[in-house]
Subunit: 377 residues, 2 copies
């Protein structure tokens, strides 16, 4: 059976990227690697829409998240974290591990944070050094209002705004410099169409200034050391060479398509997915601000979402994701970030209709697909 | 021109490994990934010769080194580090970054540590919690006497012995459990014949016991969290999936060859390399205990080693490495760990003879190659 991966990371790899990574290995200090990393550097600045360097780390996205705490704060510093899902929760866990006082703004799963709540925290604690949020909370499929938050943060404090864009960058616009995002990070295995193993982090001048005062311990994720290296097209420690070669190819693909077209494609696929599942009588988990990265959907009343996930894998070779933690068994998550097109959505919706009928949720065959076709037409 | 990589990491990738990694990506929580990671787990235990779990990290080897400090020690703890080159120096830097008191045993570059010096430190500071050494110091091509050190450490203290086996594991025998190595770590891009991006770390029961008392901060490199995951064939954070698929293939190749044959091949290639360069009138940088992983060689008197390295790259497509820091310009380093065979050594020696003659160090054509042939015959 043909296999399809519609999970929110890892995502499908384009054959061009697979081929590029199958290139014989080259040495990271060799002259032929320098243009590879230089091209990746330039491409990442282009993608992050920043004049500053974007660091390349050999780790998963969580490593970059840790570094976004340890390189900028000191023990006892105060931070605001937004916890509206599993990844927002992680910001708080990292702060705790390093003795940073995190004021957690709790947001009900499935909802976006109200920027006014962040404003209130900043008023309450004017010494807050940093605000940690997600662009998309991957566990719920919700987009947080990054632009408004950036405005509020800079109007009301001297704190830096740190955005986990792991399932945001390359899906929708997050122009770092224009919006005043101080730190923006992402991972390789999402919209960047690569295997997991790389993380990327862009850092504003204001954040670099704060970094000078940071006393938290760090070694592998030492960003000032990375900065000194990246300007020479190097990394502080041995880079994940084959993945960086793949990165060159995936950035090239994004440039060929045009970044605005990339965003438009994601908008279209997400819209079609949402209208498709809603036409089947299903409800979105995101009660507001659903992300264009992935669509989280409630299973029909009385049906465990795991049953849908198993059946669609078994009958159609499509892998989608279950909910995490409190949402496990209640929702399924269909991703459409990265190397996806209309075909994937139409097929997945058709398969879902068949599977839902099979397990007892009656759906008129074609009703969801038809709704998606409507979006595409 | 055909290209050859004889650097001490990254090393050449077998086509079988490249092909395995070009497999379409699979999801790390999918049932088809579980046997992949399970096989890797078993293979790593086999390679490390330990009954305990070997953790799989998405990072370069330095990440595992950092974790080997932060997961076992607390601020103000005392450790002994052996600094006989760039990587030994790194142990001291990591300790310093985390407020661990490192008693540094300095060893002249090119020499192995005298185990009696470690014994003396342990007598002087009986509260030492850990000893940090390299199996091979990659910057000098020297092997430290791990077995004797393990004996001394356990006879004279309750400290744990931590061995950076980044250029050791898979080259020569480092049986963790038998020798009493408490922590053994390595990276993917050396004898394991993979691209960089993975690190592996085996941990003894005694080290796990010490970990319970550790209060240094950690998050991404949290080994107890990784242990809870690896026993379920998972990792704490998204693993570098494609590299782990490659790992399955490279471990399979090592098993097919037989681990004792792998060690014998490395011994033979190293011996031939050493005899070859010595027959050309060159001197080994390792004045004692040269490693079977790589051979570090002094450039002829009055010749910058960089000239040899450039010429052999330009004329023969062979990339070898320069010395690092104080050895830069003085030595060149030829690696023979991983996917290498007699052909590579014979060709590299012949090319070196031509290049040396070209740049003014007269060598009888065939004299080095002949010496290597002698070893192979």
């Amino acid at each position: 059976m043909k296999k399809y991966l519609l999970t929110p990371g890892p995502t499908e790899l384009p054959p061009r990227v697979l081929l590029a990574m199958a290139h014989p290995i080259i040495h990271h200090r060799a002259p032929e690697f320098l243009p590879v990393i230089e091209q990746a550097r330039e491409g990442l600045k282009w993608l992050f829409k920043t004049k500053n360097e974007v660091l390349i780390l050999a780790s998963s996205g969580t490593g970059a998240m840790e570094g976004a705490v340890t390189n900028f704060l000191s023990k006892g510093d105060r931070a605001v974290t937004v916890n509206g899902g599993k990844f927002g929760e992680r910001w708080g866990q990292i702060c705790k591990a390093y003795g940073v006082e995190a004021d957690v703004v709790n947001v009900e799963w499935g909802q976006a944070v109200d920027p006014e709540k962040i404003k209130a925290e900043l008023k309450k604690y004017p010494d807050t050094k940093a605000i940690y949020i997600q662009a998309t909370e991957t566990s719920t499929g919700v987009v947080h209002p990054v632009r408004e938050i950036a405005q509020i943060v800079h109007d009301n404090s001297k704190a830096i705004l740190v955005v986990d864009g792991i399932t945001g960058v390359g899906v929708f616009d997050l122009p770092m410099d224009e919006w005043g995002i101080d730190i923006l990070l992402t991972g390789s295995q999402k919209a960047l169409m690569l295997p997991p193993g790389l993380a990327f982090i862009g850092i504003s001048d204001r954040a670099w200034k704060l970094a000078e005062t940071s006393t938290l311990p760090k070694f592998y994720f030492n960003f000032s050391k990375e900065l000194k290296n990246i300007v020479k097209n190097q990394t502080a420690y041995t880079p994940a060479i084959s993945l960086i070669i793949g990165l060159g190819e995936s950035l090239k693909m994004m440039k060929e398509e045009g970044i605005e077209n990339v965003y438009r494609r994601h908008t279209l696929l997400a819209d079609a997915t949402r209208k498709g599942v809603q036409a089947m009588g299903l409800r979105l988990y995101a009660s507001q601000a659903p992300s264009n990265s992935l669509t989280a959907v409630f299973a029909p009343e009385g049906i465990d979402s795991g049953k849908i996930i198993s059946a669609i894998e078994k009958d159609f070779g499509i892998r989608i994701a279950n909910g995490q933690d409190q949402a496990k068994g209640k929702i399924f998550r269909v991703a459409h970030m990265g190397y996806y097109d209309k075909s994937d959505i139409l097929f997945a919706l058709a398969a879902l209709e068949i599977v839902l009928n099979k397990i007892g949720h009656k759906v008129t065959p074609g009703i969801g697909v038809g709704a998606a076709e409507g979006v595409f037409m």
